[in-house]
């Protein structure tokens, strides 16, 4: 049972990590918490589900479309809700982000209705037994896809010109501009990548839970926020570590403490981290 719980935790944790990456990258470059990250996750899921429901699009295309739609929503949000407020008091963009989150949730409620939508294609995932442990191939696939995306992100940030430019902007925006980096474009790129990852997480969860609905981003969004804080907000490996740790902590907490307190565990950890180690496990900002 312990190993099974560990696996459950890692699967949900990897999704928290993908969303947390969005929080952390945006915080790194702009110093702002984008509370609409959960709605971007919801947008990715809805686009993929609606496309698949038409029956004309194959799964991989729908998945990619979900990611792109989420990414474009992220970029649009940056243009409309954050760029006009740059340089204002830090509380102002925060309120703007909360407003965007409420707006997007209500919009989805109006457009798509309150009901859960099942994922249009049924996957026949089997459970294989590895060393006496029933491993669901669905969990395996989600874990592999999430870790793969995170790996790609790390490579991008470390070894490409654009990745390095993002890091440079995160370290010091003014100096980066003096070095000839187009800061606005880098900020947009950060929103694009961070939102695409959240969108991917949304599609994966739409498959995993077989449910897509307007409020689906609320809880995962808050938990990913806690994960980002846990790992050290602004720190990319920290967000991944934070997400996975939080997922496992929740899963084991539900198993060995009480299932009623499952959702409380994430927030108890958040408060604990803020009190004891506000800089997070891995300190730092940027890379």
């Amino acid at each position: 049972m312990f190993l099974q719980q560990l696996l459950n935790g890692l699967t949900t944790g990897s999704v928290y990590a993908l969303i947390a990456l969005g929080y952390t990258m945006i915080y790194g470059i702009l110093g702002l918490i984008n509370f609409a990250q959960g709605e971007i996750y919801m947008c990715g899921a809805f686009v993929a589900v609606l496309l698949l429901a038409t029956g004309k699009v194959n799964f991989y295309l729908a998945f990619a479309a979900g990611m792109v739609a989420a990414a474009l929503l992220g970029v649009a949000l940056e243009r409309v809700a954050f760029r006009p407020l740059r340089g204002a008091h830090p509380l102002v963009p925060l309120i703007s982000a909360i407003g965007a989150s409420i707006f997007l949730q209500s919009l989805a409620l109006l457009l798509f209705g309150p009901n859960d939508r099942p994922f249009p294609i049924q996957f026949t995932f089997s459970t294989i037994t590895v060393a006496g442990l029933p491993l669901s191939t669905l969990q395996g696939a989600i874990l592999a896809a999430a870790l793969g995306l995170m790996g790609l992100l790390m490579v991008f940030v470390r070894y490409t010109r654009y990745g390095k430019a993002i890091v440079a902007c995160a370290l010091d925006r003014d100096t980066a501009r003096l070095m000839g980096i187009n800061v606005d474009r880098m900020v947009a790129l950060t929103f694009f990548i961070g939102s695409a990852l959240s969108g991917a997480a949304g599609v994966m969860m739409a498959i995993y839970y077989n449910a897509t609905y307007p409020r689906m981003g609320l809880l995962p969004g808050l938990k990913a926020f806690s994960a980002a804080i846990l790992g050290g907000v602004g720190n990319i490996p920290g967000a991944i570590l934070g997400g996975l740790l939080l997922g496992v902590a929740e899963s084991l907490g539900a198993a060995y403490v009480s299932s009623g307190y499952k959702d409380a565990i994430a927030f108890a950890i958040l408060i604990g981290v803020l009190l004891l180690r506000p800089q997070g496990i891995l300190k730092g900002r940027g890379d």
Partner: protein, 379 residues
Amino acid sequence: MMAKLRVILVLGIFIGLLVTPLAWGADPPIKMGTVLRLSIGAEHGIPCRRGVEMAVAEVNKAGGVNGRQVELIVEDEKDSPAASVNAVQKLINVDKVIGMVGPMTSGDVMAATKIADEAKVVMITPTATTPQLSGAAAYVYRGCSRIDTQAKVLTKYVAQNWKPKTVAIFFSNEPYGKGSAKFFGEEFEKLGVKVVANESFMRGSRDFKSELTKIKAANPDILFIPGYTPETAPAAAQARQLGMNQKILGVYGDMDPVYIQLAGKGAEGHVIGVEYDEDYDTPKNKAFKKNYYELAKKNNDPVNIMFAALSFDAASMILEGMKKNGPTAEGIKKFLDEVKDFDGITGKLSFDKTHDIVRAGTDGVYIVEVKGGRYTKAK
């Protein structure tokens, strides 16, 4: 100037002549109200509203009550006792209704009973299941069976047919799920079925893997998952993903076509107790079914025929009371107290002394099972 005035005058008299006989001929409409879950839980509230509207439209089309049309006023209970009290008060004091269908949830009905009694206005709740409501108010009636009745009938059926030795309860952590867990748990223990796990989940959560893994370790013979479809259906699907193949028992919130979609293969063999049998063979029910599906499709409603049927029956009985004893609350009450085997679409209906519904020839509950992706009657 004078010419213009004359034209207006003549026109005025002409229109006046046209309208007056109509205005003199028609009595003011009789007012009826309904308080339903139209925001939170709208997937059940909208079908209920459709049911009430259908009953009223049927009577109006046939010429109304003693020649008077019936006007329906709809309010939202917002899943809050305070909001439902406000809605009932508005219906009684502002709209002057003489009968009401609703509210739907137990908490909302219990809060509103006192107001209905003080104003002496009849109220029938189509769906509240709490035992506390029995005999609680003189003017409040209940159109569905109590949760403990549902528990007795279902647990007995399951114990006889599935012969389990152990059961795991995985309940929604709110009054409905908790109440079901308590009553079903007690009944199971009485029948010698041991409760080996008692876990809960939050409304709004969709990840049940860790709780289910814990339940799996207790190795129960069957699962009982009471709650609402948005959570219970993914829970069933996830249990299957974890390789748990136990039969699953649910409560009547799961009689929803969406349950089968969301639970996928996990829905097969799912047993629930419901209040309505779609195959109930009376002309009235056949007409209702056809009519309901057409209207729901036309208006793009969330579909749930059981909730529509329960509220249709509740509204029909109020309307029948008006017809029989005249359009007063006392008349409706007298009818409800005396009615015997009313030809409803959920069965032959009467009320017992505590104002709970009795369906002649049944235990009050129909048991249905999902077979081949469809609810079919098991008993």
